[in-house]
């Protein structure tokens, strides 16, 4: 990847509002910066702060979190939980010397395709301003993960479950 640097962004979208909005943006052919990769969650309440840290550790320069507007959560209050964690997380990141502006939480309802386009572009610009996150790259796989992976494969070598 010797070509000039492009921001790498991971986006965690709740399936009911923001992910649907992203689909709508697609259906409406609204082009936007391709830097973000969307990971679908059932609810922004599922958003574990570790996902953000993990993303940074694996080389992301920014993380975007999308949930339903306050009061609209399909699960009543998941988005509020997300908001609480987000606020704390920003402080943790500051402690770690990561600019908190690298994480952004957005409420985007299922009908706001245009908003997805806007936020995606803004986010990319924002990260471009901040520049690459020179984080010491974590070992490709955590020991535990490797263990689990071996199991996944290993089990089968003994002939599988059934």
């Amino acid at each position: 990847m010797s070509e000039q640097w492009e921001p790498r962004i991971v986006a965690f979208f709740c399936t009911w509002c923001t992910y649907t909005a992203a689909d709508l943006a697609g259906i409406s052919r609204m082009t936007y910066a391709p830097n973000a990769r969307i990971v679908r969650l059932m609810c922004s309440g599922r958003m574990d702060p570790q996902f953000v840290l993990k993303a940074f550790a694996d080389g992301a320069d920014g993380v975007l979190i999308g949930g339903c507007h306050p009061g609209d959560c399909h699960y009543q209050a998941g988005n509020y939980k997300a908001l609480r964690r987000y606020t704390l997380l920003k402080r943790v990141l500051t402690e770690m010397g990561i600019e908190p502006e690298r994480v952004r939480l957005e409420w985007i309802s299922a009908s706001e395709g245009d908003r997805v386009q806007k936020v995606m572009n803004e986010m990319v610009e924002q990260i471009r301003k901040l520049g690459p996150l020179h984080l010491e790259k974590a070992p490709r796989r955590t020991a535990a993960a490797q263990e689990r992976e071996r199991e996944a494969v290993g089990v089968s070598s003994q002939g599988g479950a059934r």
């Binding site: 992203a22 689909d23 391709p34 990769r37 309440g45 998941g78 009908s111 599988g160």
Partner: protein, 1124 residues
């Protein structure tokens, strides 16, 4: 350890989606890349993976063991996940060994650069591949669907859907917030393009709904809340608003409306016509029953301490129903002819009319009625009870208490120290304000219904309280406040110095006596004013009131002050007595006063007067009347059973019950409050009576008495456009004659009373006159009716809540609300209807036929400032109205349009027909509607200024009538409603469908469907079609009988759980409990909806979510980042 299906052999299938993906994403490159990913054994591409051959590809690879896990890179999982899971299953694997990469909606459709698109697609596929390697086999849970259906909204959509479902033999609840079903369609006259009569096609359906055994029709009702009943079904709470008419008994005969005196604008006729307070929106209403509109207790009635129903008798007076008015008055007031004269009428203070010009003269109207029927009788008690109750004092408090007790069957006995009954009424209030015979009559009426009054019987001398207590079931002390406050200045005991009450009593009992030429009255209260006016009538030449504050602070009734000044009483403000000059022989000769100035507000909130040192001055006079307030004469009662008193020398009682510290002994009126107005004394009497009744029946004396006494109403009334008309002054004898004790005001004549009564604004709408009940043979009317709450359980819900019209006032340049002959389309629609306000005649406000009419299209639609969308129906209903107007009036009709939008079967033909009928079409948005005439032929017309874009000129078209084709908007409470039902609103605020093309009546909430204009503007044709579609969706659900739920529930890995309980409060569905034996959290799968909030919060990673385990998501993250 995750159960697996052997070593991951992952097949990656990349879809071209025709050119949708292929045109942007370099498919061969992507496929090549896929092959290099871990565990990938097969990577293929195909034009349409979702097609049968496409799915067959996958199934073959599965069957022939080439792959055991599947990744499809195509459209959004929200689109085809189900399809490919099925394919995986049919290939012999668990359907959840599958994951989807969204490279259409999220890649090819939104990325400009082909290279970047391809890279992004690779990243998403890499993520999916990593993820799917960690997938586990899962089972879908089946949940039964409750067969009952709720439909919200009784317009044509709701009606249609309800009938379809009911016909299929399923139970339907149809909830409508208005008193009738029918919705907007019921207001229409004709329907485009066929011009058939709306009522003719709608009303049969409405009656079917009413008649259908499977439909439970809940009109005048609203959904309060919708809660999950179980994983799939709903518990719905419905508020059935009080109709005050028993729906099952009312025959719809309409006699009630005939007698109802209250007339208000008819919502159904868009305010062009009127209806009564008890009404039925239109003759074919379903259910065909009446409803009473009640806004609440009117402000006047609420402000009155005894809650006299003023609006009731005022409305009846306005309609010349005087006898009925009297009955309403007597409902809550046994002393109306007294109150009508001297009550300080707090009712008028809160009268809404006061915010417009002047409040009504409410007491004056009451007096008018009592004067009209001088020999009316009080209602006689309907039951008798043995208990006798002693009442000390025959003032308003005592009399009211006696009356209320008597009505409850008790035998009250009143003990009065004075030779005459009535207390302050008789001794304290001069006869030119309250003629004696009026008091006598009132008291005789009370005697007639069996109230005993012993005059000249001072308790404490003639009989003791102790004896009363022993001989009577209960005692009520209402001795008033008759002891004068002293000035405490030198010379106060000189001859010629009187106490105000002492003076008034003497005049009232012994007649007028000479005071001399110049009289000073000290004080600013009502009694002081009475004293001053009485002094004039005693022959004084010059009477001056001396008050230490200013007019603004005078406690006396401003009207009384005015009257006094008219009669010649002088006012001296900011002066306080210092010394009374004179001697035993000469009596009082002068008063030395101090000038005062106003200082900071005191306890009473009024600015405290402060003496200006050295500002003394002297007023010479022959008599001084000191009227600065009174205190109760408690001492006169002699021994008093150890009744507690306050520092102000009044009785100490319980605020709510008026009971003293001695059980069974109550006290109220001035002897508790200090000097106060009549109506508050009566209030005390009533209160005491209620307490005594409860006391004797051993009931809770405190329960449920919050609404007793004066309060302010919460609601506000829109008084805009009320024509100004000040209060009609009550006739009075001319000034010259106001030197005798003849009553000053002579009272309203019938004509004046009616005119004054007509000023009432009907704040409460229904005036509670209860005439309707008198004519209702079915006995259907129940004024005590309360809202009812009903709970139902349903498996599916159809929202058909319709639309609201754009408010044309929001575009002032079109002059709606400013120029009378600017109408909305629906108003004209009502005019064209033969059952409408004009009987089908299209007329201007002044009754003329219009010669030229302009119809302005797109009012509030296709306009960034208001609604950018097209309302779809306006072009066609404008054509329809154009036709009807031309047909009925022969007027020239001009349509001002931006574009004619007439798609749909037979619509274009309809348009052509209108063109042939000679209707004018001008293409261009209208700039303004104005009455600014620039040429003679524009005089007296409304001029429509618009650009004609076809010939490129600005045109001015003079017309008589302007019709605004207003657009359709979401209901005002659409956002509130959609939250209630867990659905979303799309652009423009209409309910959002699951998919614009493929799921137009579904929503993102399972089991909740939408139909009609609540989903977006549409005509009747499309609405009915959607209603059918929604019905079909519901029926297919019910017939299947169950739904399968995504198995994405959370679970606890017990060996990892530390029992910290972090997760438990987080769960919005209380699905998590704590297993105290094992010391770990436990998740009830039947309640878990799979949001994963608990999983995110679990510090030890014990909580996990199927399909979204930490590891699966980690893999996805690594995937998208491993390759960019």
């Amino acid at each position: 350890m995750p159960e697996t299906n052997g070593a991951p052999k992952i097949g990656v299938y990349v879809c071209h989606c025709g050119v949708n993906i292929a045109a942007k994403v370099n498919i061969p490159e992507v496929v090549e890349f896929a092959r290099t990913l871990p565990f990938v054994t097969v990577a293929r591409d195909y034009k349409f993976m979702c097609s049968d051959p496409g799915q067959e590809l996958i199934q073959q690879d599965l069957r022939e063991g080439r792959v055991n896990r599947v990744v499809v890179a195509s459209c959004s999982p929200l689109m085809h996940e189900a399809t490919f899971r099925r394919a995986t299953a049919e290939g012999g694997q668990n359907p959840f060994f599958f994951h989807m990469a969204n490279i259409r909606e999220h890649v090819s459709w939104v990325t400009a650069d082909e290279h970047k698109a391809t890279e992004k697609a690779k990243a998403l596929i890499a993520a999916a591949v990593r993820r799917v390697a960690f997938h586990e086999p899962l089972e879908k849970k089946r949940v039964p669907v409750h067969p009952h259906v709720l439909i919200v909204g009784g317009g044509i959509a709701g009606i249609e859907a309800a009938l379809k479902i009911a016909e299929a033999g399923k139970k339907v609840y149809l909830v409508e917030r208005e008193p009738t079903i029918g919705g907007h369609m019921a207001q229409f006259d004709k329907c485009f393009p066929t011009l058939d009569c709306a009522a003719c096609i709608l009303t049969p359906k409405m009656t079917q709904v009413r008649a259908h055994p499977n439909i439970k029709l809940l009109t005048y009702s609203e959904v309060e809340s919708v809660e999950p009943y179980d994983l799939r079904n709903f518990k719905v709470t419905i508020r059935r608003k009080a109709r005050y008419v028993n729906e099952d008994v009312c025959t719809g005969c309409g006699l009630c409306a005939d007698v109802c005196p209250v007339t208000v604008p008819s919502e159904f006729d868009e305010g062009l016509g009127t209806r009564k307070a008890i009404y039925r929106p239109f003759p074919q209403a379903v259910p065909n029953v009446f409803t009473i509109s009640r806004r609440g207790t009117p402000p006047c009635q609420a402000a009155c301490s005894i809650h006299q129903n003023a609006q009731g008798y005022i409305t009846l007076i306005a309609h010349g129903k005087f006898k009925e008015a009297l009955d309403v008055i007597l409902r809550d007031n046994p002393l109306p002819s007294i109150c009508g004269r001297i009550c300080t009428h707090p009712c008028t203070v809160n009268c809404t009319r006061g915010t417009v010009d002047e409040p009504l003269n409410i007491p004056g109207l009451k007096r008018f009625i009592t004067d009209l029927f001088p020999d009316y009788k009080l209602p006689t008690p309907t039951k008798e009870r043995p208990e006798k109750i002693a009442i000390v004092g025959s003032g308003p408090a005592g009399l009211m208490c006696a009356y209320e007790l008597r009505q409850r069957g008790y035998k009250p006995v009143i003990f009065e120290a004075q030779p005459v009954a009535g207390g302050m009424l008789s001794v304290g209030i001069p006869s030119f304000r309250l003629p004696r015979d009026v008091i006598t009559k009132e008291i005789n009426r009370l005697k007639e219904i069996g109230i005993e009054i012993k005059t000249n019987t001072p308790v404490g001398k003639a009989i003791t309280l102790e004896q009363l207590r022993q001989q009577y079931a209960a005692v009520f002390i209402a001795i008033g406040a008759h002891v004068e406050r002293k000035l405490k200045v030198p010379g106060e005991d000189l001859p010629g110095v009187f106490g105000g009450i002492e003076f008034l009593r003497r005049v009232n009992l012994e007649g007028p006596f000479n005071l001399g030429e110049r009289v000073l009255v000290i004080g600013g209260g009502n009694s002081a004013v009475d004293a001053a006016r009485t002094a004039l009538r005693c022959g004084a030449k010059e009477v001056t009131m001396v008050y230490r504050r200013t007019r603004a602070e005078m406690p006396a009734d401003p009207k009384e002050i005015e009257a006094a000044e008219e009669e010649g009483v002088k006012m001296l403000f900011l002066a306080a007595p210092k010394t009374i000059l004179g001697n035993k022989e000469t009596g009082v000769t002068a008063l030395e006063c101090l000038k005062m100035k106003l200082g900071a507000p005191d306890a009473s909130g009024r600015p405290a007067p402060e003496p200006i040192p050295g500002s003394e001055f002297v007023l010479s006079c022959d008599a001084i009347i000191v009227t600065i307030g009174q205190v109760p004469d408690i001492a006169s009662l002699g021994e008093r059973l150890g009744l507690e008193t306050t520092t102000w020398g009044t009785f100490k009682v319980d605020d709510v019950t008026l009971e003293t510290n001695v059980p069974g002994v109550f006290a109220g009126g001035d002897c508790v409050t200090g000097p106060d107005v009549v109506v508050n004394a009566m209030y005390a009497g009533k209160k005491a009576a209620i307490s005594i009744d409860r006391y004797l029946n051993k009931l809770d004396m405190r329960a449920g008495r919050e609404r007793e006494g004066p309060y302010r109403t919460e609601y506000t009334i829109d008084t805009s456009g009320t024509p100004l008309q000040k209060q009609i002054p009550m006739p009075a004898i001319e000034l010259a004659r106001r030197r005798t004790f003849e009553e000053v005001h002579t009272g309203y004549t019938k004509e004046l009373a009616i005119a004054e009564a007509k000023r009432c604004l009907d704040c409460g709408i229904c005036c509670d006159c209860r005439l309707c009940a008198t004519v209702c043979e079915a006995k259907a009317i129940n004024y005590e009716m309360k809202d009812e709450i009903q709970e139902i359980v349903v498996g599916s819900i159809i929202l058909a809540t319709g639309f609201k019209l754009f408010d044309a006032r929001r575009i002032p340049r079109y002059g709606y609300g400013k120029y009378p002959n600017v109408y909305t389309a629906l108003e004209v629609e009502r005019m064209t209807n033969s059952a409408g306000p004009t009987g089908g005649e299209i007329r201007l406000r002044d009754g003329r036929k219009p010669k030229a009419v302009g119809i302005i299209h797109c009012v509030g639609s296709r306009d960034r400032n208001y609604n950018s969308y097209c309302s779809r129906v306006c072009c066609l209903y404008s054509l329809k109205l154009a036709h009807l107007i031309k047909e009925r009036t022969g007027a020239e009709v001009y349509n001002f349009y931006i574009d004619m939008r007439v798609p749909g079967k037979a619509y274009e033909e309809f348009y052509d027909r209108m063109l042939e009928e000679g209707i004018h079409f001008i293409r261009g948005r209208v700039a303004e509607v104005t009455d600014h005439a620039m040429t003679p032929d524009e005089e007296g017309k409304l001029v429509i200024r618009a650009e004609d874009t076809l010939i490129g000129v600005i045109r001015r078209i003079p017309v008589d009538m302007v019709v605004l084709a207003v657009g359709l908007e979401p209901q005002a409470d659409a956002d509130e409603v959609r939250r209630k039902f867990y659905i979303s609103c799309g652009s423009g605020g209409f309910f959002l469908e699951r998919h614009p093309k493929l799921a137009p009546v579904q929503t993102f909430a399972d089991g909740i469907f939408i139909a009609g204009a609540c989903q977006g503007p549409k005509d009747i044709q499309d609405t009915v079609a959607q209603a059918g579609a929604a019905a079909a969706e519901v029926l297919s659900l019910i017939d299947r009988g169950f739904v399968e739920l995504e198995p994405n529930t959370a679970f606890i890995q017990e060996e990892l759980c530390s029992g910290c309980k972090t997760c438990i409060p987080l769960c919005p569905f209380s699905a998590i409990s704590f297993n105290s034996d094992k010391g770990v959290a436990a998740i009830n799968e039947a309640l878990c909806k799979g949001c994963g909030t608990c999983v995110a919060a679990c510090p030890s990673g014990a909580a996990q979510q199927h399909l979204f385990t930490d590891e699966q998501i980690y893999q996805e993250i690594e995937g998208v980042l491993s390759y960019v």
